[in-house]
Amino acid sequence: MTSKARELAQIPSTPSGRRNIVINGAMNVAQRGTSFTGLGNGDTGYQVDRFRFVESGSPTYEFTVSQSTTVPSGSGFSNSVKFDCTTADTAMAAGDTLKFEQWIEAQNLQHLAYGSSSAKSLTLSFWVRSNKTGNYVVWFYQDDDARQITKTYSISSADTWEFKTLTIPGDTTGVIDNNNARGLLLSWGLASGTTYTSGTQPTAWESATNANRYAGLNVNLADSTSNEWYITGVQLEVGTVATEFEHRSFGEELALCQRYYHTTDHLAGSSRAHAAYILGVYTTTRGFFGIDVPVAMRATPSISMEGAINLREPDLTTDGTLSSVSYYSNLNNTKFVIDATFSTSTANTFRSVSISTDGAFLFDAEL
C-alpha cells in the first residue's frame, strides 16, 4: 500500500470538521428565557434558541417548556429541554398535535444534493427521556416540494435517558432551493389526533400527506400531568453513522442562533446600559436611532422591545419613554435604523436611549 493509499484508508467514512447541521443541539443558548408556562392552544413559538413548541388544532393541554439541567450522566451535556404537562388532554381531537421542532435554512442543506441521484443519507441522533414509554415519531419535512419521510423511535424504560439514532435516505426527487427560506423540518411528534396518524408510516420520501405524518405514534404525552419529556444532544449529520456529538463553544453556538434571533439582553440578569444608543428626536413623539447586531440576520427582522426604555438628556434626566419600535431601514441585515415612538420629548435634539434593568430590544428573523 502506498503512503497516499494508507493515508486515505485512515480517513473515516463520515465527514470530519463541522458535522452537526442542527443549531443549538445541546440546548445551551436560551436568549428568550429559560422557562415558559401555560403553553397550549395558540402558543406555537420559540423557547430555547432555534427550537420551538408547536401545537395545531385546538388542544386543551398546557405545558411548561423549560431549559433543564437534567442531562444524561457522563454525556458532557449541561442542558436539555423539558416538556412538563401541567394540564392534561386525554382525548386529543382529530386535528390536534403536540410537537417539538427545528427548521433548517435551505441554503445550509445544498451539500445534501437533494433532487439528484447523489442525494445523501442523513442521520439524526439525540438523547431522550420520558416517563411515558412507547413509540414516538420524528417527521422530516422538506418544504420546497412538500416531501416527507418519518422515523419511529421507542422509549422503552421510563425516566431513563436513551440515545436514539435515526437514518433516512437522501431524497433523489425533491429539490431544496438554494435560498434563505425553510429547507428541512425536524419535528418530534409527542401527541397527535387521527388526522395525522391514520395513514401508513412512509419508509421512503413521498409527497406529504397529513394522514401519514405521525403514523406509528402511539403515545399521548398530554394525557397526564405526570408526563414529562426531555431531549438534548440533537445532531443531524451526513451519512449513515451517528458520530460523537459535536460540542461547539457557547460563543460559536450563540452566533449561529443570532442569525435568527437577537436580543440586546442575551445574558438575562446582567446590568443594562445607559446611553447605549443615540436617538435623533424627529418630532416630540417620534425619532430614529441605529442598532448594530453581532451577526448578519437571515432576513429583515421584526423588531420589538420589552421593559422600560427611556430617553435621557446628557445629565440623565428622563425626557420621554419609548412605547413602540419598528423596523425602518437596514444595511446588510447587520445595522438597523429603528423607528421609535415615545411619550413627549424635545424635538430636534439628540437623546440617549437608556435601557432599564428589565429592558431589551428584540430582533426576530426566525424561519
Binding site: Y282, T300, S302, S326, Y328, D339, D364
Partner: protein, 57 residues
C-alpha cells in the same frame, strides 16, 4: 400565530413601510418584507380574510 391587531406605519415620505402588529400578545414592528415569518403570516391571514391591516394614523 395569533395576530390580534395590525396597522401600517408610514415612513417620512408618507409611504407604508412597516406594520405594527400584536402577535402572540407581543407588539412587533414588522417589515414589509417577504421572507419575514411575521409578514408572511400577516399576508396569509389577510388573504384568508381573517385579518385586516388598519391604515396608518
Amino acid at each position: 400565530m395569533n395576530i390580534t391587531s395590525a396597522q401600517y406605519k408610514k415612513n417620512l415620505e408618507d409611504e407604508n413601510h412597516s406594520i405594527i402588529a400584536t402577535i402572540d400578545g407581543v407588539e412587533w414592528g414588522v417589515p414589509l418584507s417577504v421572507g419575514n415569518r411575521h409578514y408572511d403570516e400577516i399576508l396569509r391571514q389577510v388573504e384568508a380574510g381573517t385579518l385586516t391591516i388598519q391604515d396608518a394614523d
